[in-house]
Amino acid sequence: MTDRTDRDITEKDYNNAASLSRLFYEFFKMGLFTIGGGMAMVPVLQDIMERNRWMSTEETLDCIAVCQSLPGVVAINMATFVGFRKRGVLGAACTTVGILLPSLIIIIIVAMFMGRIDQNLYVQGALSGIRAAAAGLIGWATWRMGRQVLHGKGWFAWTLAVISFIVVGVVGINAVWVILGGIVLGIIYNSIITARKAGDGE
């Protein structure tokens, strides 16, 4: 019972309005300070959503899953997803331009004046620190989001999460298939429990 009221409060809390300038600013910052894109952006995305109260952890996970399974650059997909969800086409334009702009500016500067900065020893040092930070942050995001999303969710969610981890992380199958499989299993599971609930009701 208490569980349900807690949940209602969270869902409502995570529906804060987003101004267009704030959407642009957050995604510009994400493009500027993350290296590699894709999954390296997950901890930053989760932080933005939580700090601004834009999306609950569940919605953030939906966003990550959908963006990973659609074609295109995952980071752009994420930006468009959040922008569109919060403020429609204009919002999506702000977040997408926001995430592209740092790359555009930095790459043009590097190509014009700097050459192979990746071969610079100090840049390599910084990159090894940033890679380590990305690993630690994704580890933390896994722990934190997993606790929120899987806690008390029963065998179905846990089994699916563990299988998905093994299939993607150990076997090395493309994550798209895992997401699609998850959708199908979720639909089947949902119709079974709904049917069972309807049966109990009679």
């Binding site: 995952v74 090894s128 994704i138 999460a161 992380g169 150990v170 998850g182």
Partner: protein, 186 residues
């Protein structure tokens, strides 16, 4: 002008067919660009190195870099906008669809399965990213980076025990990495 249009179309196509982004997209970039503008092995190596070492998504960096090499700033704009438009269209339509049918049993059921699957995917990303941090040259190469492991552990501790957000932590660890290099070269 034709060069600009070719760049736009090439990256537009890559945006539509490239799954997963990042390094997976780079071979497509090479193929697409060699069709109309010769790119040497060395230029491609530069592209791979620089896209990974600069901030922002790898695929976007690669698009901007190739566009700039081929046709200057207008070229980089054309290829970057080209690679982004398919995402923009497909994701907007998908979000619209989800929001419209979010009460339907099918969509709700789908999300019941999508969330745990995504959780497992993020956990496996931890393995991949952790591996590239701990073994910079690949696992077989025998180059275990103890300092990177300590920095990853410190990152976890900072994220768990302090109020620091991910971006300040990334900057701190980048500075630590540079400082270590400075110490090593002394």
């Amino acid at each position: 002008m034709t060069l600009i249009i070719q760049l736009f179309l090439t990256f537009f196509k890559i945006g539509f067919i490239g799954f997963g982004g990042g390094l997976a997209i780079l071979p497509l970039v090479y193929q697409g660009i060699s069709a109309f503008s010769p790119i040497t092995q060395e230029e491609f190596a530069n592209l791979v190195g620089i896209s990974q070492a600069t901030p922002g998504p790898i695929a976007v960096n690669a698009a901007t870099y190739v566009g700039f090499l081929t046709a200057g700033i207008p070229g980089s704009l054309a290829s970057t906008i080209g690679v982004a438009i398919p995402s923009f269209i497909l994701v907007s339509l998908t979000v619209k669809f989800i929001d419209k049918y979010k009460e339907s049993r099918l969509v709700q059921g789908g999300f019941l399965g999508i969330r745990p699957a995504a959780m497992g995917m993020i956990a496996s990303a931890f393995i991949f990213v952790g591996e590239s941090a701990a073994f910079p040259g690949g696992i077989g190469a025998g180059s275990f980076d103890l300092a990177a492991c300590l920095m990853a552990a410190a990152t976890f501790a900072l994220a768990a025990k302090t109020k620091l957000g991910p971006i300040p932590i990334i900057l701190i660890m980048g500075a630590c990495g540079t400082a270590l290099t400075v110490l090593e070269t002394l």
